[in-house]
C-alpha cells in the first residue's frame, strides 16, 4: 500500500508453445494506465502458424484497477476478431465478474457511429444551404407570430397578459439607466463634433438644430435599439433557449399551448410598446447632453438653445423616430425569440443562440434603418 513499496507494473507477452500466447501481468497496476496491447496484436497477426489460445498469468499481479479491465476486454475482442480462444479463468475473480458485466449488454452495433466531422466541401455546402434555410425559417417564424397576433386580436390567444406586463417592466423601466447614460453621451458627442465643424462657418448657434434633428430622426432610436438588442434580445434568446434545452417548450406544446402565443407574443408586445417610449426618453436625454455642451462650452444661452431646438424638430421627424423605435423593438424581440426557440439542446447551443440573436438583431436594425432612410427620402418626410 505504501507508495515507496509500490511494485512496478509489468506486462510480458510470451509464446511458450506455437499455439499459445501467454500474457503475464505483474506488480501494482493501479493508476498505471492500460497495459500495452501491441505485443499481443503482433503475435496474433504473425503468419507463421497462428496461436489458438490466449491465456493469462496473474500470479504476480498485486493490485489492479480498470486499466487492466480495459486490457482484458480488448484481449477478448481481439480474440474474437482473430478466432482465438481467450482463457479468462486465471484472471482475478473480481475482474472476471466485471468483464461479465461489461459484456452483459450487447453492443448496440446499429447505434455505433464514428466521430462526425464532415469534410470541407461538405461543410461549405451545408453552410450555403443553411443560409438559404435561415431566411426562409425567419419568414416562417414571422408568419407564426402574425398568426398568433391574429389569435390575440380575436380573443383566442393563450397569451397571459401578466407575462407581457412583466416583459414591459424588465425591458422598459429597468433599462432607463443604461439608455440614459448612452444617449446622454451621444448627445455630448454630437454637440462637440458639430460645434467644431460649424465654428468654421461661424454658425455655432446651429449646434442645437444639429443635435435635435440627428437625435430625433436617427440616433435616439438607433442607439436605443442597439442597447436593447444587447440587453433584451440576448436575454430572450437565452431564456427561450434554456427552456428548449429543459424541454419546457415541448411541455407547453403537449398541453396544447402554442409556444408562440405563450412565449413570443408577450415579448413582442412588451418590447414593441416599450421601445417607442424609451425612444422619446432617449431623445430628451440626448438633447440634454447637447444642451450641456452648448451652454457650458459654447456661448449659447439656454433660452436660445431651447428655442432653436423646438423650431428644428418637426412633428413628422419626431413621429418617424418613434415609429422606427417601435419597429426596431419588434425586430429585436422577434430575432431574440426566434433564435431562442430554434436553439439546439446543449449548453453551447444556448450560447450560440444568444450570440446570433445579438448579431442578427444589430445587423437587422442597421439594415432596416437604411431602408427607412431611402423610403423617407422618396416620400420627402
Amino acid at each position: 500500500m505504501h507508495p515507496s513499496a509500490r511494485l512496478e507494473p509489468k506486462v510480458e507477452v510470451s509464446r511458450p508453445t506455437a499455439d499459445r500466447v501467454r500474457v503475464c501481468l505483474a506488480g501494482d497496476w493501479r493508476r498505471a494506465g492500460v497495459p500495452s496491447l501491441a505485443d499481443v496484436e503482433t503475435l496474433l497477426r504473425r503468419d507463421d502458424g497462428r496461436p489458438r489460445v490466449i491465456e493469462f498469468d496473474t500470479r504476480e499481479l498485486r493490485a489492479w484497477d480498470s486499466g487492466v479491465l480495459a486490457f482484458a476486454a480488448r484481449c477478448e475482442e481481439l480474440g474474437k476478431e482473430h478466432g482465438v480462444e481467450v482463457r479468462l479463468g486465471t484472471l482475478p475473480e473480481g475482474l472476471q465478474r466485471l468483464l461479465r458485466l461489461a459484456r452483459a449488454v450487447p453492443e448496440a452495433r446499429e447505434a455505433r457511429r464514428g466521430s462526425r466531422r464532415p469534410g470541407l466541401v461538405a461543410r461549405v455546402g451545408e453552410a450555403a444551404q443553411a443560409t438559404g434555410g435561415f431566411v426562409l425559417d425567419f419568414a416562417a417564424f414571422l408568419g407564426e407570430s402574425l398568426q398568433s397576433l391574429g389569435r390575440l386580436v380575436r380573443g383566442r390567444s393563450a397569451m397571459r397578459w401578466g407575462d407581457a406586463l412583466h416583459v414591459m417592466q424588465t425591458t422598459g423601466p429597468q433599462a432607463l439607466g443604461i439608455v440614459a447614460l448612452i444617449n446622454f453621451l451621444v448627445g455630448l458627442i454630437l454637440a462637440f463634433v458639430g460645434a467644431v465643424q460649424l465654428a468654421r462657418f461661424g454658425a455655432t448657434m446651429y449646434v442645437a438644430d444639429l443635435v435635435a434633428v440627428a437625435t430625433v430622426r436617427e440616433m435616439g432610436c438607433l442607439m436605443t435599439g442597439i442597447i436593447l438588442c444587447g440587453r433584451t434580445g440576448a436575454a430572450f434568446a437565452a431564456q427561450l433557449g434554456t427552456m428548449r434545452v429543459n424541454e419546457e417548450v415541448d411541455a407547453l406544446a403537449t398541453f396544447g399551448f402554442p409556444p408562440v402565443d405563450f412565449l413570443v407574443l408577450p415579448r413582442l408586445l412588451g418590447l414593441g410598446l416599450m421601445m417607442p417610449l424609451l425612444c422619446v426618453f432617449a431623445d430628451l436625454i440626448a438633447i440634454g447632453g447637447g444642451f450641456v455642451v452648448a451652454t457650458g462650452l459654447l456661448d449659447l444661452s439656454s433660452a436660445d438653445y431651447v428655442q432653436r431646438t423646438l423650431a428644428a424638430i418637426t412633428l413628422e421627424s419626431f413621429l418617424l423616430g418613434v415609429f422606427k423605435g417601435g419597429v426596431f423593438g419588434l425586430l429585436v424581440a422577434l430575432v431574440g425569440c426566434w433564435r431562442g426557440l430554434r436553439c439546439g439542446n446543449t449548453a453551447a447551443a444556448v450560447g450560440q443562440a444568444t450570440t446570433s440573436a445579438v448579431v442578427i438583431g444589430i445587423t437587422g436594425i442597421i439594415a432596416a434603418d437604411g431602408v427607412f432612410a431611402v423610403v423617407t427620402k422618396v416620400l420627402e418626410i
Binding site: R30, R31, G33, V34, D65, S66, G67, L69, A70, F71, A73, R74, P92, E93, G94, L95, R97, L98, L101, A102, R103, A104, V105, P106, E107, A108, R109, A111, R112, R113, G114, S115, R116, V245, G344, N345, T346, A347, A348, A349
Partner: protein
C-alpha cells in the same frame, strides 16, 4: 475486509444543514466504514441530496463537519479540499452530463485532466467504463440524443472515470427499468468487492436498498433528525418505529 471492524472512511459529526434560516436536518452523526455500502433513505424533500452536497463539498455545513479518514474536509485549505475531492466519484441526481460533449468525452475529460495517461489509454478506459454500464456502442452520442435512463448510466460511467475510492450516488436507480436497475445494483456491489470502493447511495427504491445496503440511515423531515440507523433488513424486522417500518414496507407493514 470485514465491514464491521474496518476503520471509518467517512465521518459526519454533529452536522446541521440549512438553507439560510431554513434548517433541513440537525445533529447528524454518521460513521461510514471503508468498503461498505451506505444508504441514505428518506422520503422526497427530506434532505438526502442536501446531505450528499455537504459530503462532496458543494455546500458548507451550518454547524459540524465532514471527515475523510479523520481529516476534516471543511477545515482543510483549498489544496487539501481539492485533493480530497479527487478521491470522490459523484453521480448527480439529474446526471449532469456535459451537454456539448459526447458520452466518451464526458468520461474522458476527468481522465485527461487528472490521470496523466495518453489518448489511446484514455479511449480504452472510457470504452470499458461505458461498457460496464451497458452503453457499448454509444460512445459518440451526445447526452441529448439518448434516453433519461441511459443518461443516468452514462453519469455513473463518468463517476467511475478515475477509479475513485469513494463513490457517491444520488438516486442511481430511479428512472431505470427493473432489469437495468438490477444490473446497476450488481455493478455497485462488484465495484465495492473488486476495487474496494466505499459507496454512499441515496435511494428510496426498496428493492435496491435491500439488495445493496450494509448500513443505512433514515432521515425524518418532521423531527429534522436521523430517525433510525442500521442494516435495513434488521430495521424492517426489528424497528419499533412505525414510520421507519412504514417506509420499509411501503406502508403495508
Amino acid at each position: 475486509m470485514d465491514p464491521a471492524t474496518a476503520p471509518s472512511k467517512i465521518e459526519i459529526r454533529s452536522l446541521t444543514m440549512a438553507y439560510g434560516d431554513f434548517v433541513v436536518m440537525r445533529d447528524i452523526d454518521v460513521r461510514i466504514r471503508a468498503g461498505e455500502v451506505f444508504v441514505i433513505m428518506g422520503g422526497s424533500g427530506c434532505g438526502k441530496s442536501t446531505l450528499l452536497k455537504h459530503m462532496i463539498g458543494l455546500k458548507a455545513p451550518a454547524a459540524g463537519g465532514v471527515y475523510y479518514d479523520g481529516q476534516s474536509y471543511w477545515d482543510a485549505d483549498e489544496a487539501g479540499r481539492l485533493a480530497l475531492r479527487r478521491r470522490l466519484g459523484v453521480m448527480f441526481q439529474q446526471g449532469a452530463l456535459w451537454s456539448s460533449l459526447t458520452l466518451a468525452e464526458n468520461v474522458a475529460l476527468p481522465l485527461e485532466a487528472f490521470s496523466g495517461l495518453g489518448p489511446a489509454d484514455i479511449r480504452e478506459l472510457a470504452r470499458v467504463k461505458l461498457a460496464l454500464v451497458g452503453l457499448r456502442g454509444f460512445e459518440e452520442y451526445l447526452p441529448a440524443e439518448i434516453s433519461g435512463g441511459m443518461r443516468k448510466r452514462a453519469a455513473l460511467a463518468r463517476a467511475l472515470a478515475l477509479d475513485p475510492e469513494i463513490l457517491l450516488f444520488d438516486e442511481p436507480s430511479a428512472g431505470l427499468d427493473p432489469v437495468s436497475a438490477r444490473r446497476l445494483d450488481d455493478l455497485l456491489l462488484e465495484l465495492r468487492d473488486s476495487l474496494g470502493a466505499t459507496l454512499v447511495v441515496v435511494s428510496h427504491e426498496l428493492a435496491s436498498i435491500f439488495a445493496i445496503a450494509d448500513h443505512a440511515i433514515f432521515l425524518d423531515p418532521e423531527t429534522r433528525r436521523v430517525r433510525a440507523e442500521g442494516n435495513p433488513r434488521d430495521l424492517m424486522r426489528g424497528s419499533e418505529d412505525p414510520r421507519v417500518r412504514e417506509f420499509l414496507t411501503r406502508g403495508s407493514g
